[in-house]
Amino acid sequence: MSTPGTAMDSLSAALKCNIIPNQEYLLQGSVLDQYVEVLLHRLRGLCDNVDSGPESFHDHELCFTLRAANTGAPMVLPLRVRRALDVNDAPFQLRYVGQQELGDKNRPTVVRSSIDMACSSTIVEFLTELGCRLDFEYIARGYMFRKGRMKITVSKIFKMGGNKPGEGVEPISQSYLVELSVLAPSGQDAIGEDMRVFAEQLRPLVQLEKIDYKRLGNMM
C-alpha cells in the first residue's frame, strides 16, 4: 500500500495535464426590463432542462482587494465572495478573477483567468483579517440557465442601501445583466466559437459581446 501523494503533488499533476478549469470565457450584454420575459422564454427553449425551468438565485457578492504598497506599482489582488441569500446552508463561493487577456482582437469572447472554489462561511472574516479591504458589494437576483458547458445568467443588479442585504436596495439601471460564460482549462479556444454561435441566437433581443470594463471606467 503506497503512501498517498500530497495534495500539492496532485494539484501540480493536474495543472500539468491541463485539466483544471482555470479560465473563464465570457460574453456580456443587457436587456431592458420590459423584454426580460421574452428573453427568459427564449432561453428556456434553447437551453437544457426545458421542463424543469431555470434556476433562480438571489446572491450577495462582496468584492475585496488585497493591497500592498510597493516601490513601483502597488500589488493588488482582487477576490470575490458570493453567498446565497435564498438558500441558508449553501456554501460560500470564493473567486479570483484575473485581468482580461489582451491580444487577439478576433477572439470572440473575453478570456480571463478565474479560480473558483466553495468555502466555509468564515471566508469574510478570513479575508478581512488577511488584509483584504471590501471595495464594493452588490446583490444579484435572477435566473441561471445551462447549455452543455455554457452558463447563462440573467440577473438584476441591486445596489445595497447600506442596510441589511435584502432591504432597501435599489436596482442599477432599468435592465437586466445577461452573461454567457464557460469555465474551462486554458487553451480551449474553440469554446469561444460555440459561445458566439449561441449568442447569435439571442439577437436582436440581447447583443452579447465582449466588453472591456476597464475601458468603460475611463469613458464614463
Partner: protein, 208 residues
C-alpha cells in the same frame, strides 16, 4: 467525522520506525486491520511587511478529506479557520507576493491507518522539512460527534494501547469545546497545535 484525539507518543530510545512498529503490533494484537496510509501536511505562509502587522496562514491537507484544503489564519489575537476546495492552493500561489512560505517549516505526519471496530487509529511519523520530530497518534471514534460524551471511552482506549503515555486530559484545544459538535476543522486545529510544538522542538537524536 467523529471525535478525534491526537496525542504524542514518546520514542524513548527507539527510532521512529521502531516506535511505529511497536505500536502497530499492539494495535493489531487488539484486532485492528490496516486500511492504507494517511497523510496530513502543513505549509505556513507569513504576510509581507507591506501588509502591516504580521499574520500567518497555515494551509493543511488531510488525506481523510481529500477534496478539502483547510486554512488557519493567525493574527496573534485570534485564529480564523477556513475550509475550501482543492483550488485554494492555486490561490495561495497567486498570493505569493503577499504571503510567502518558508519551505523549511513544512510539517508532515504520515503513516499507516488502522480500523478497529468503531475506532480509526493512525500512527503518524512527524517530519518537519524532512527532519524526524516524533510520533503522533490520532484516534477517531466515529459514531460520536460530541467530545464530552465519548471522552472517557477514548481515554480508556488510548490508555489501553499506549499505556502510561496515553493522555489523561482532553487536548488543550478541545477543553473549551467539549459540548460542541465536532467537525474536521477541529482535527486540523489539533494537528496545527502539535506541529507548532514539533517545529519548536530540537531535532530528535534518532533521525529517520
Amino acid at each position: 467525522m467523529g471525535v478525534t484525539i491526537l496525542t504524542q507518543f514518546p520514542t524513548e530510545n527507539r527510532t521512529g520506525p521502531q516506535t511505529i512498529d511497536v505500536l502497530s503490533k499492539r494495535i493489531m494484537a487488539l484486532g485492528a486491520i490496516q486500511q492504507g496510509q494517511f497523510l496530513v501536511d502543513c505549509e505556513t505562509y507569513t504576510s509581507v511587511q507591506q501588509l502591516g502587522p504580521q499574520r500567518t496562514v497555515h494551509v493543511l491537507h488531510n488525506s481523510e478529506q481529500p477534496a478539502t484544503v483547510f486554512s488557519l489564519l493567525e493574527t496573534g489575537t485570534k485564529t480564523i479557520p477556513l475550509a475550501t476546495d482543492g483550488l485554494f492552493d492555486l490561490l495561495m500561489m497567486k498570493m505569493s507576493s503577499f504571503y510567502t512560505s518558508k519551505k523549511q517549516t513544512k510539517a508532515e505526519s504520515k503513516g499507516p491507518r488502522y480500523e478497529i471496530g468503531d475506532f480509526c487509529v493512525k500512527l503518524g511519523t512527524v517530519t518537519v522539512s524532512s527532519n524526524f520530530k516524533g510520533i503522533l497518534v490520532e484516534v477517531e471514534y466515529r459514531p460520536c460527534v460530541v467530545p464530552a460524551m465519548c471522552w472517557d471511552l477514548l481515554k480508556e482506549f488510548l490508555q489501553g494501547f499506549l499505556g502510561l503515555s496515553g493522555p489523561t486530559n482532553p487536548p488543550a484545544y478541545l477543553q473549551n469545546r467539549m459540548q460542541e459538535i465536532y467537525s474536521p476543522i477541529d482535527t486540523i486545529h489539533q494537528y496545527l497545535e502539535h506541529f507548532t510544538l514539533f517545529r519548536k522542538s530540537p531535532v530528535e537524536a534518532n533521525v529517520n
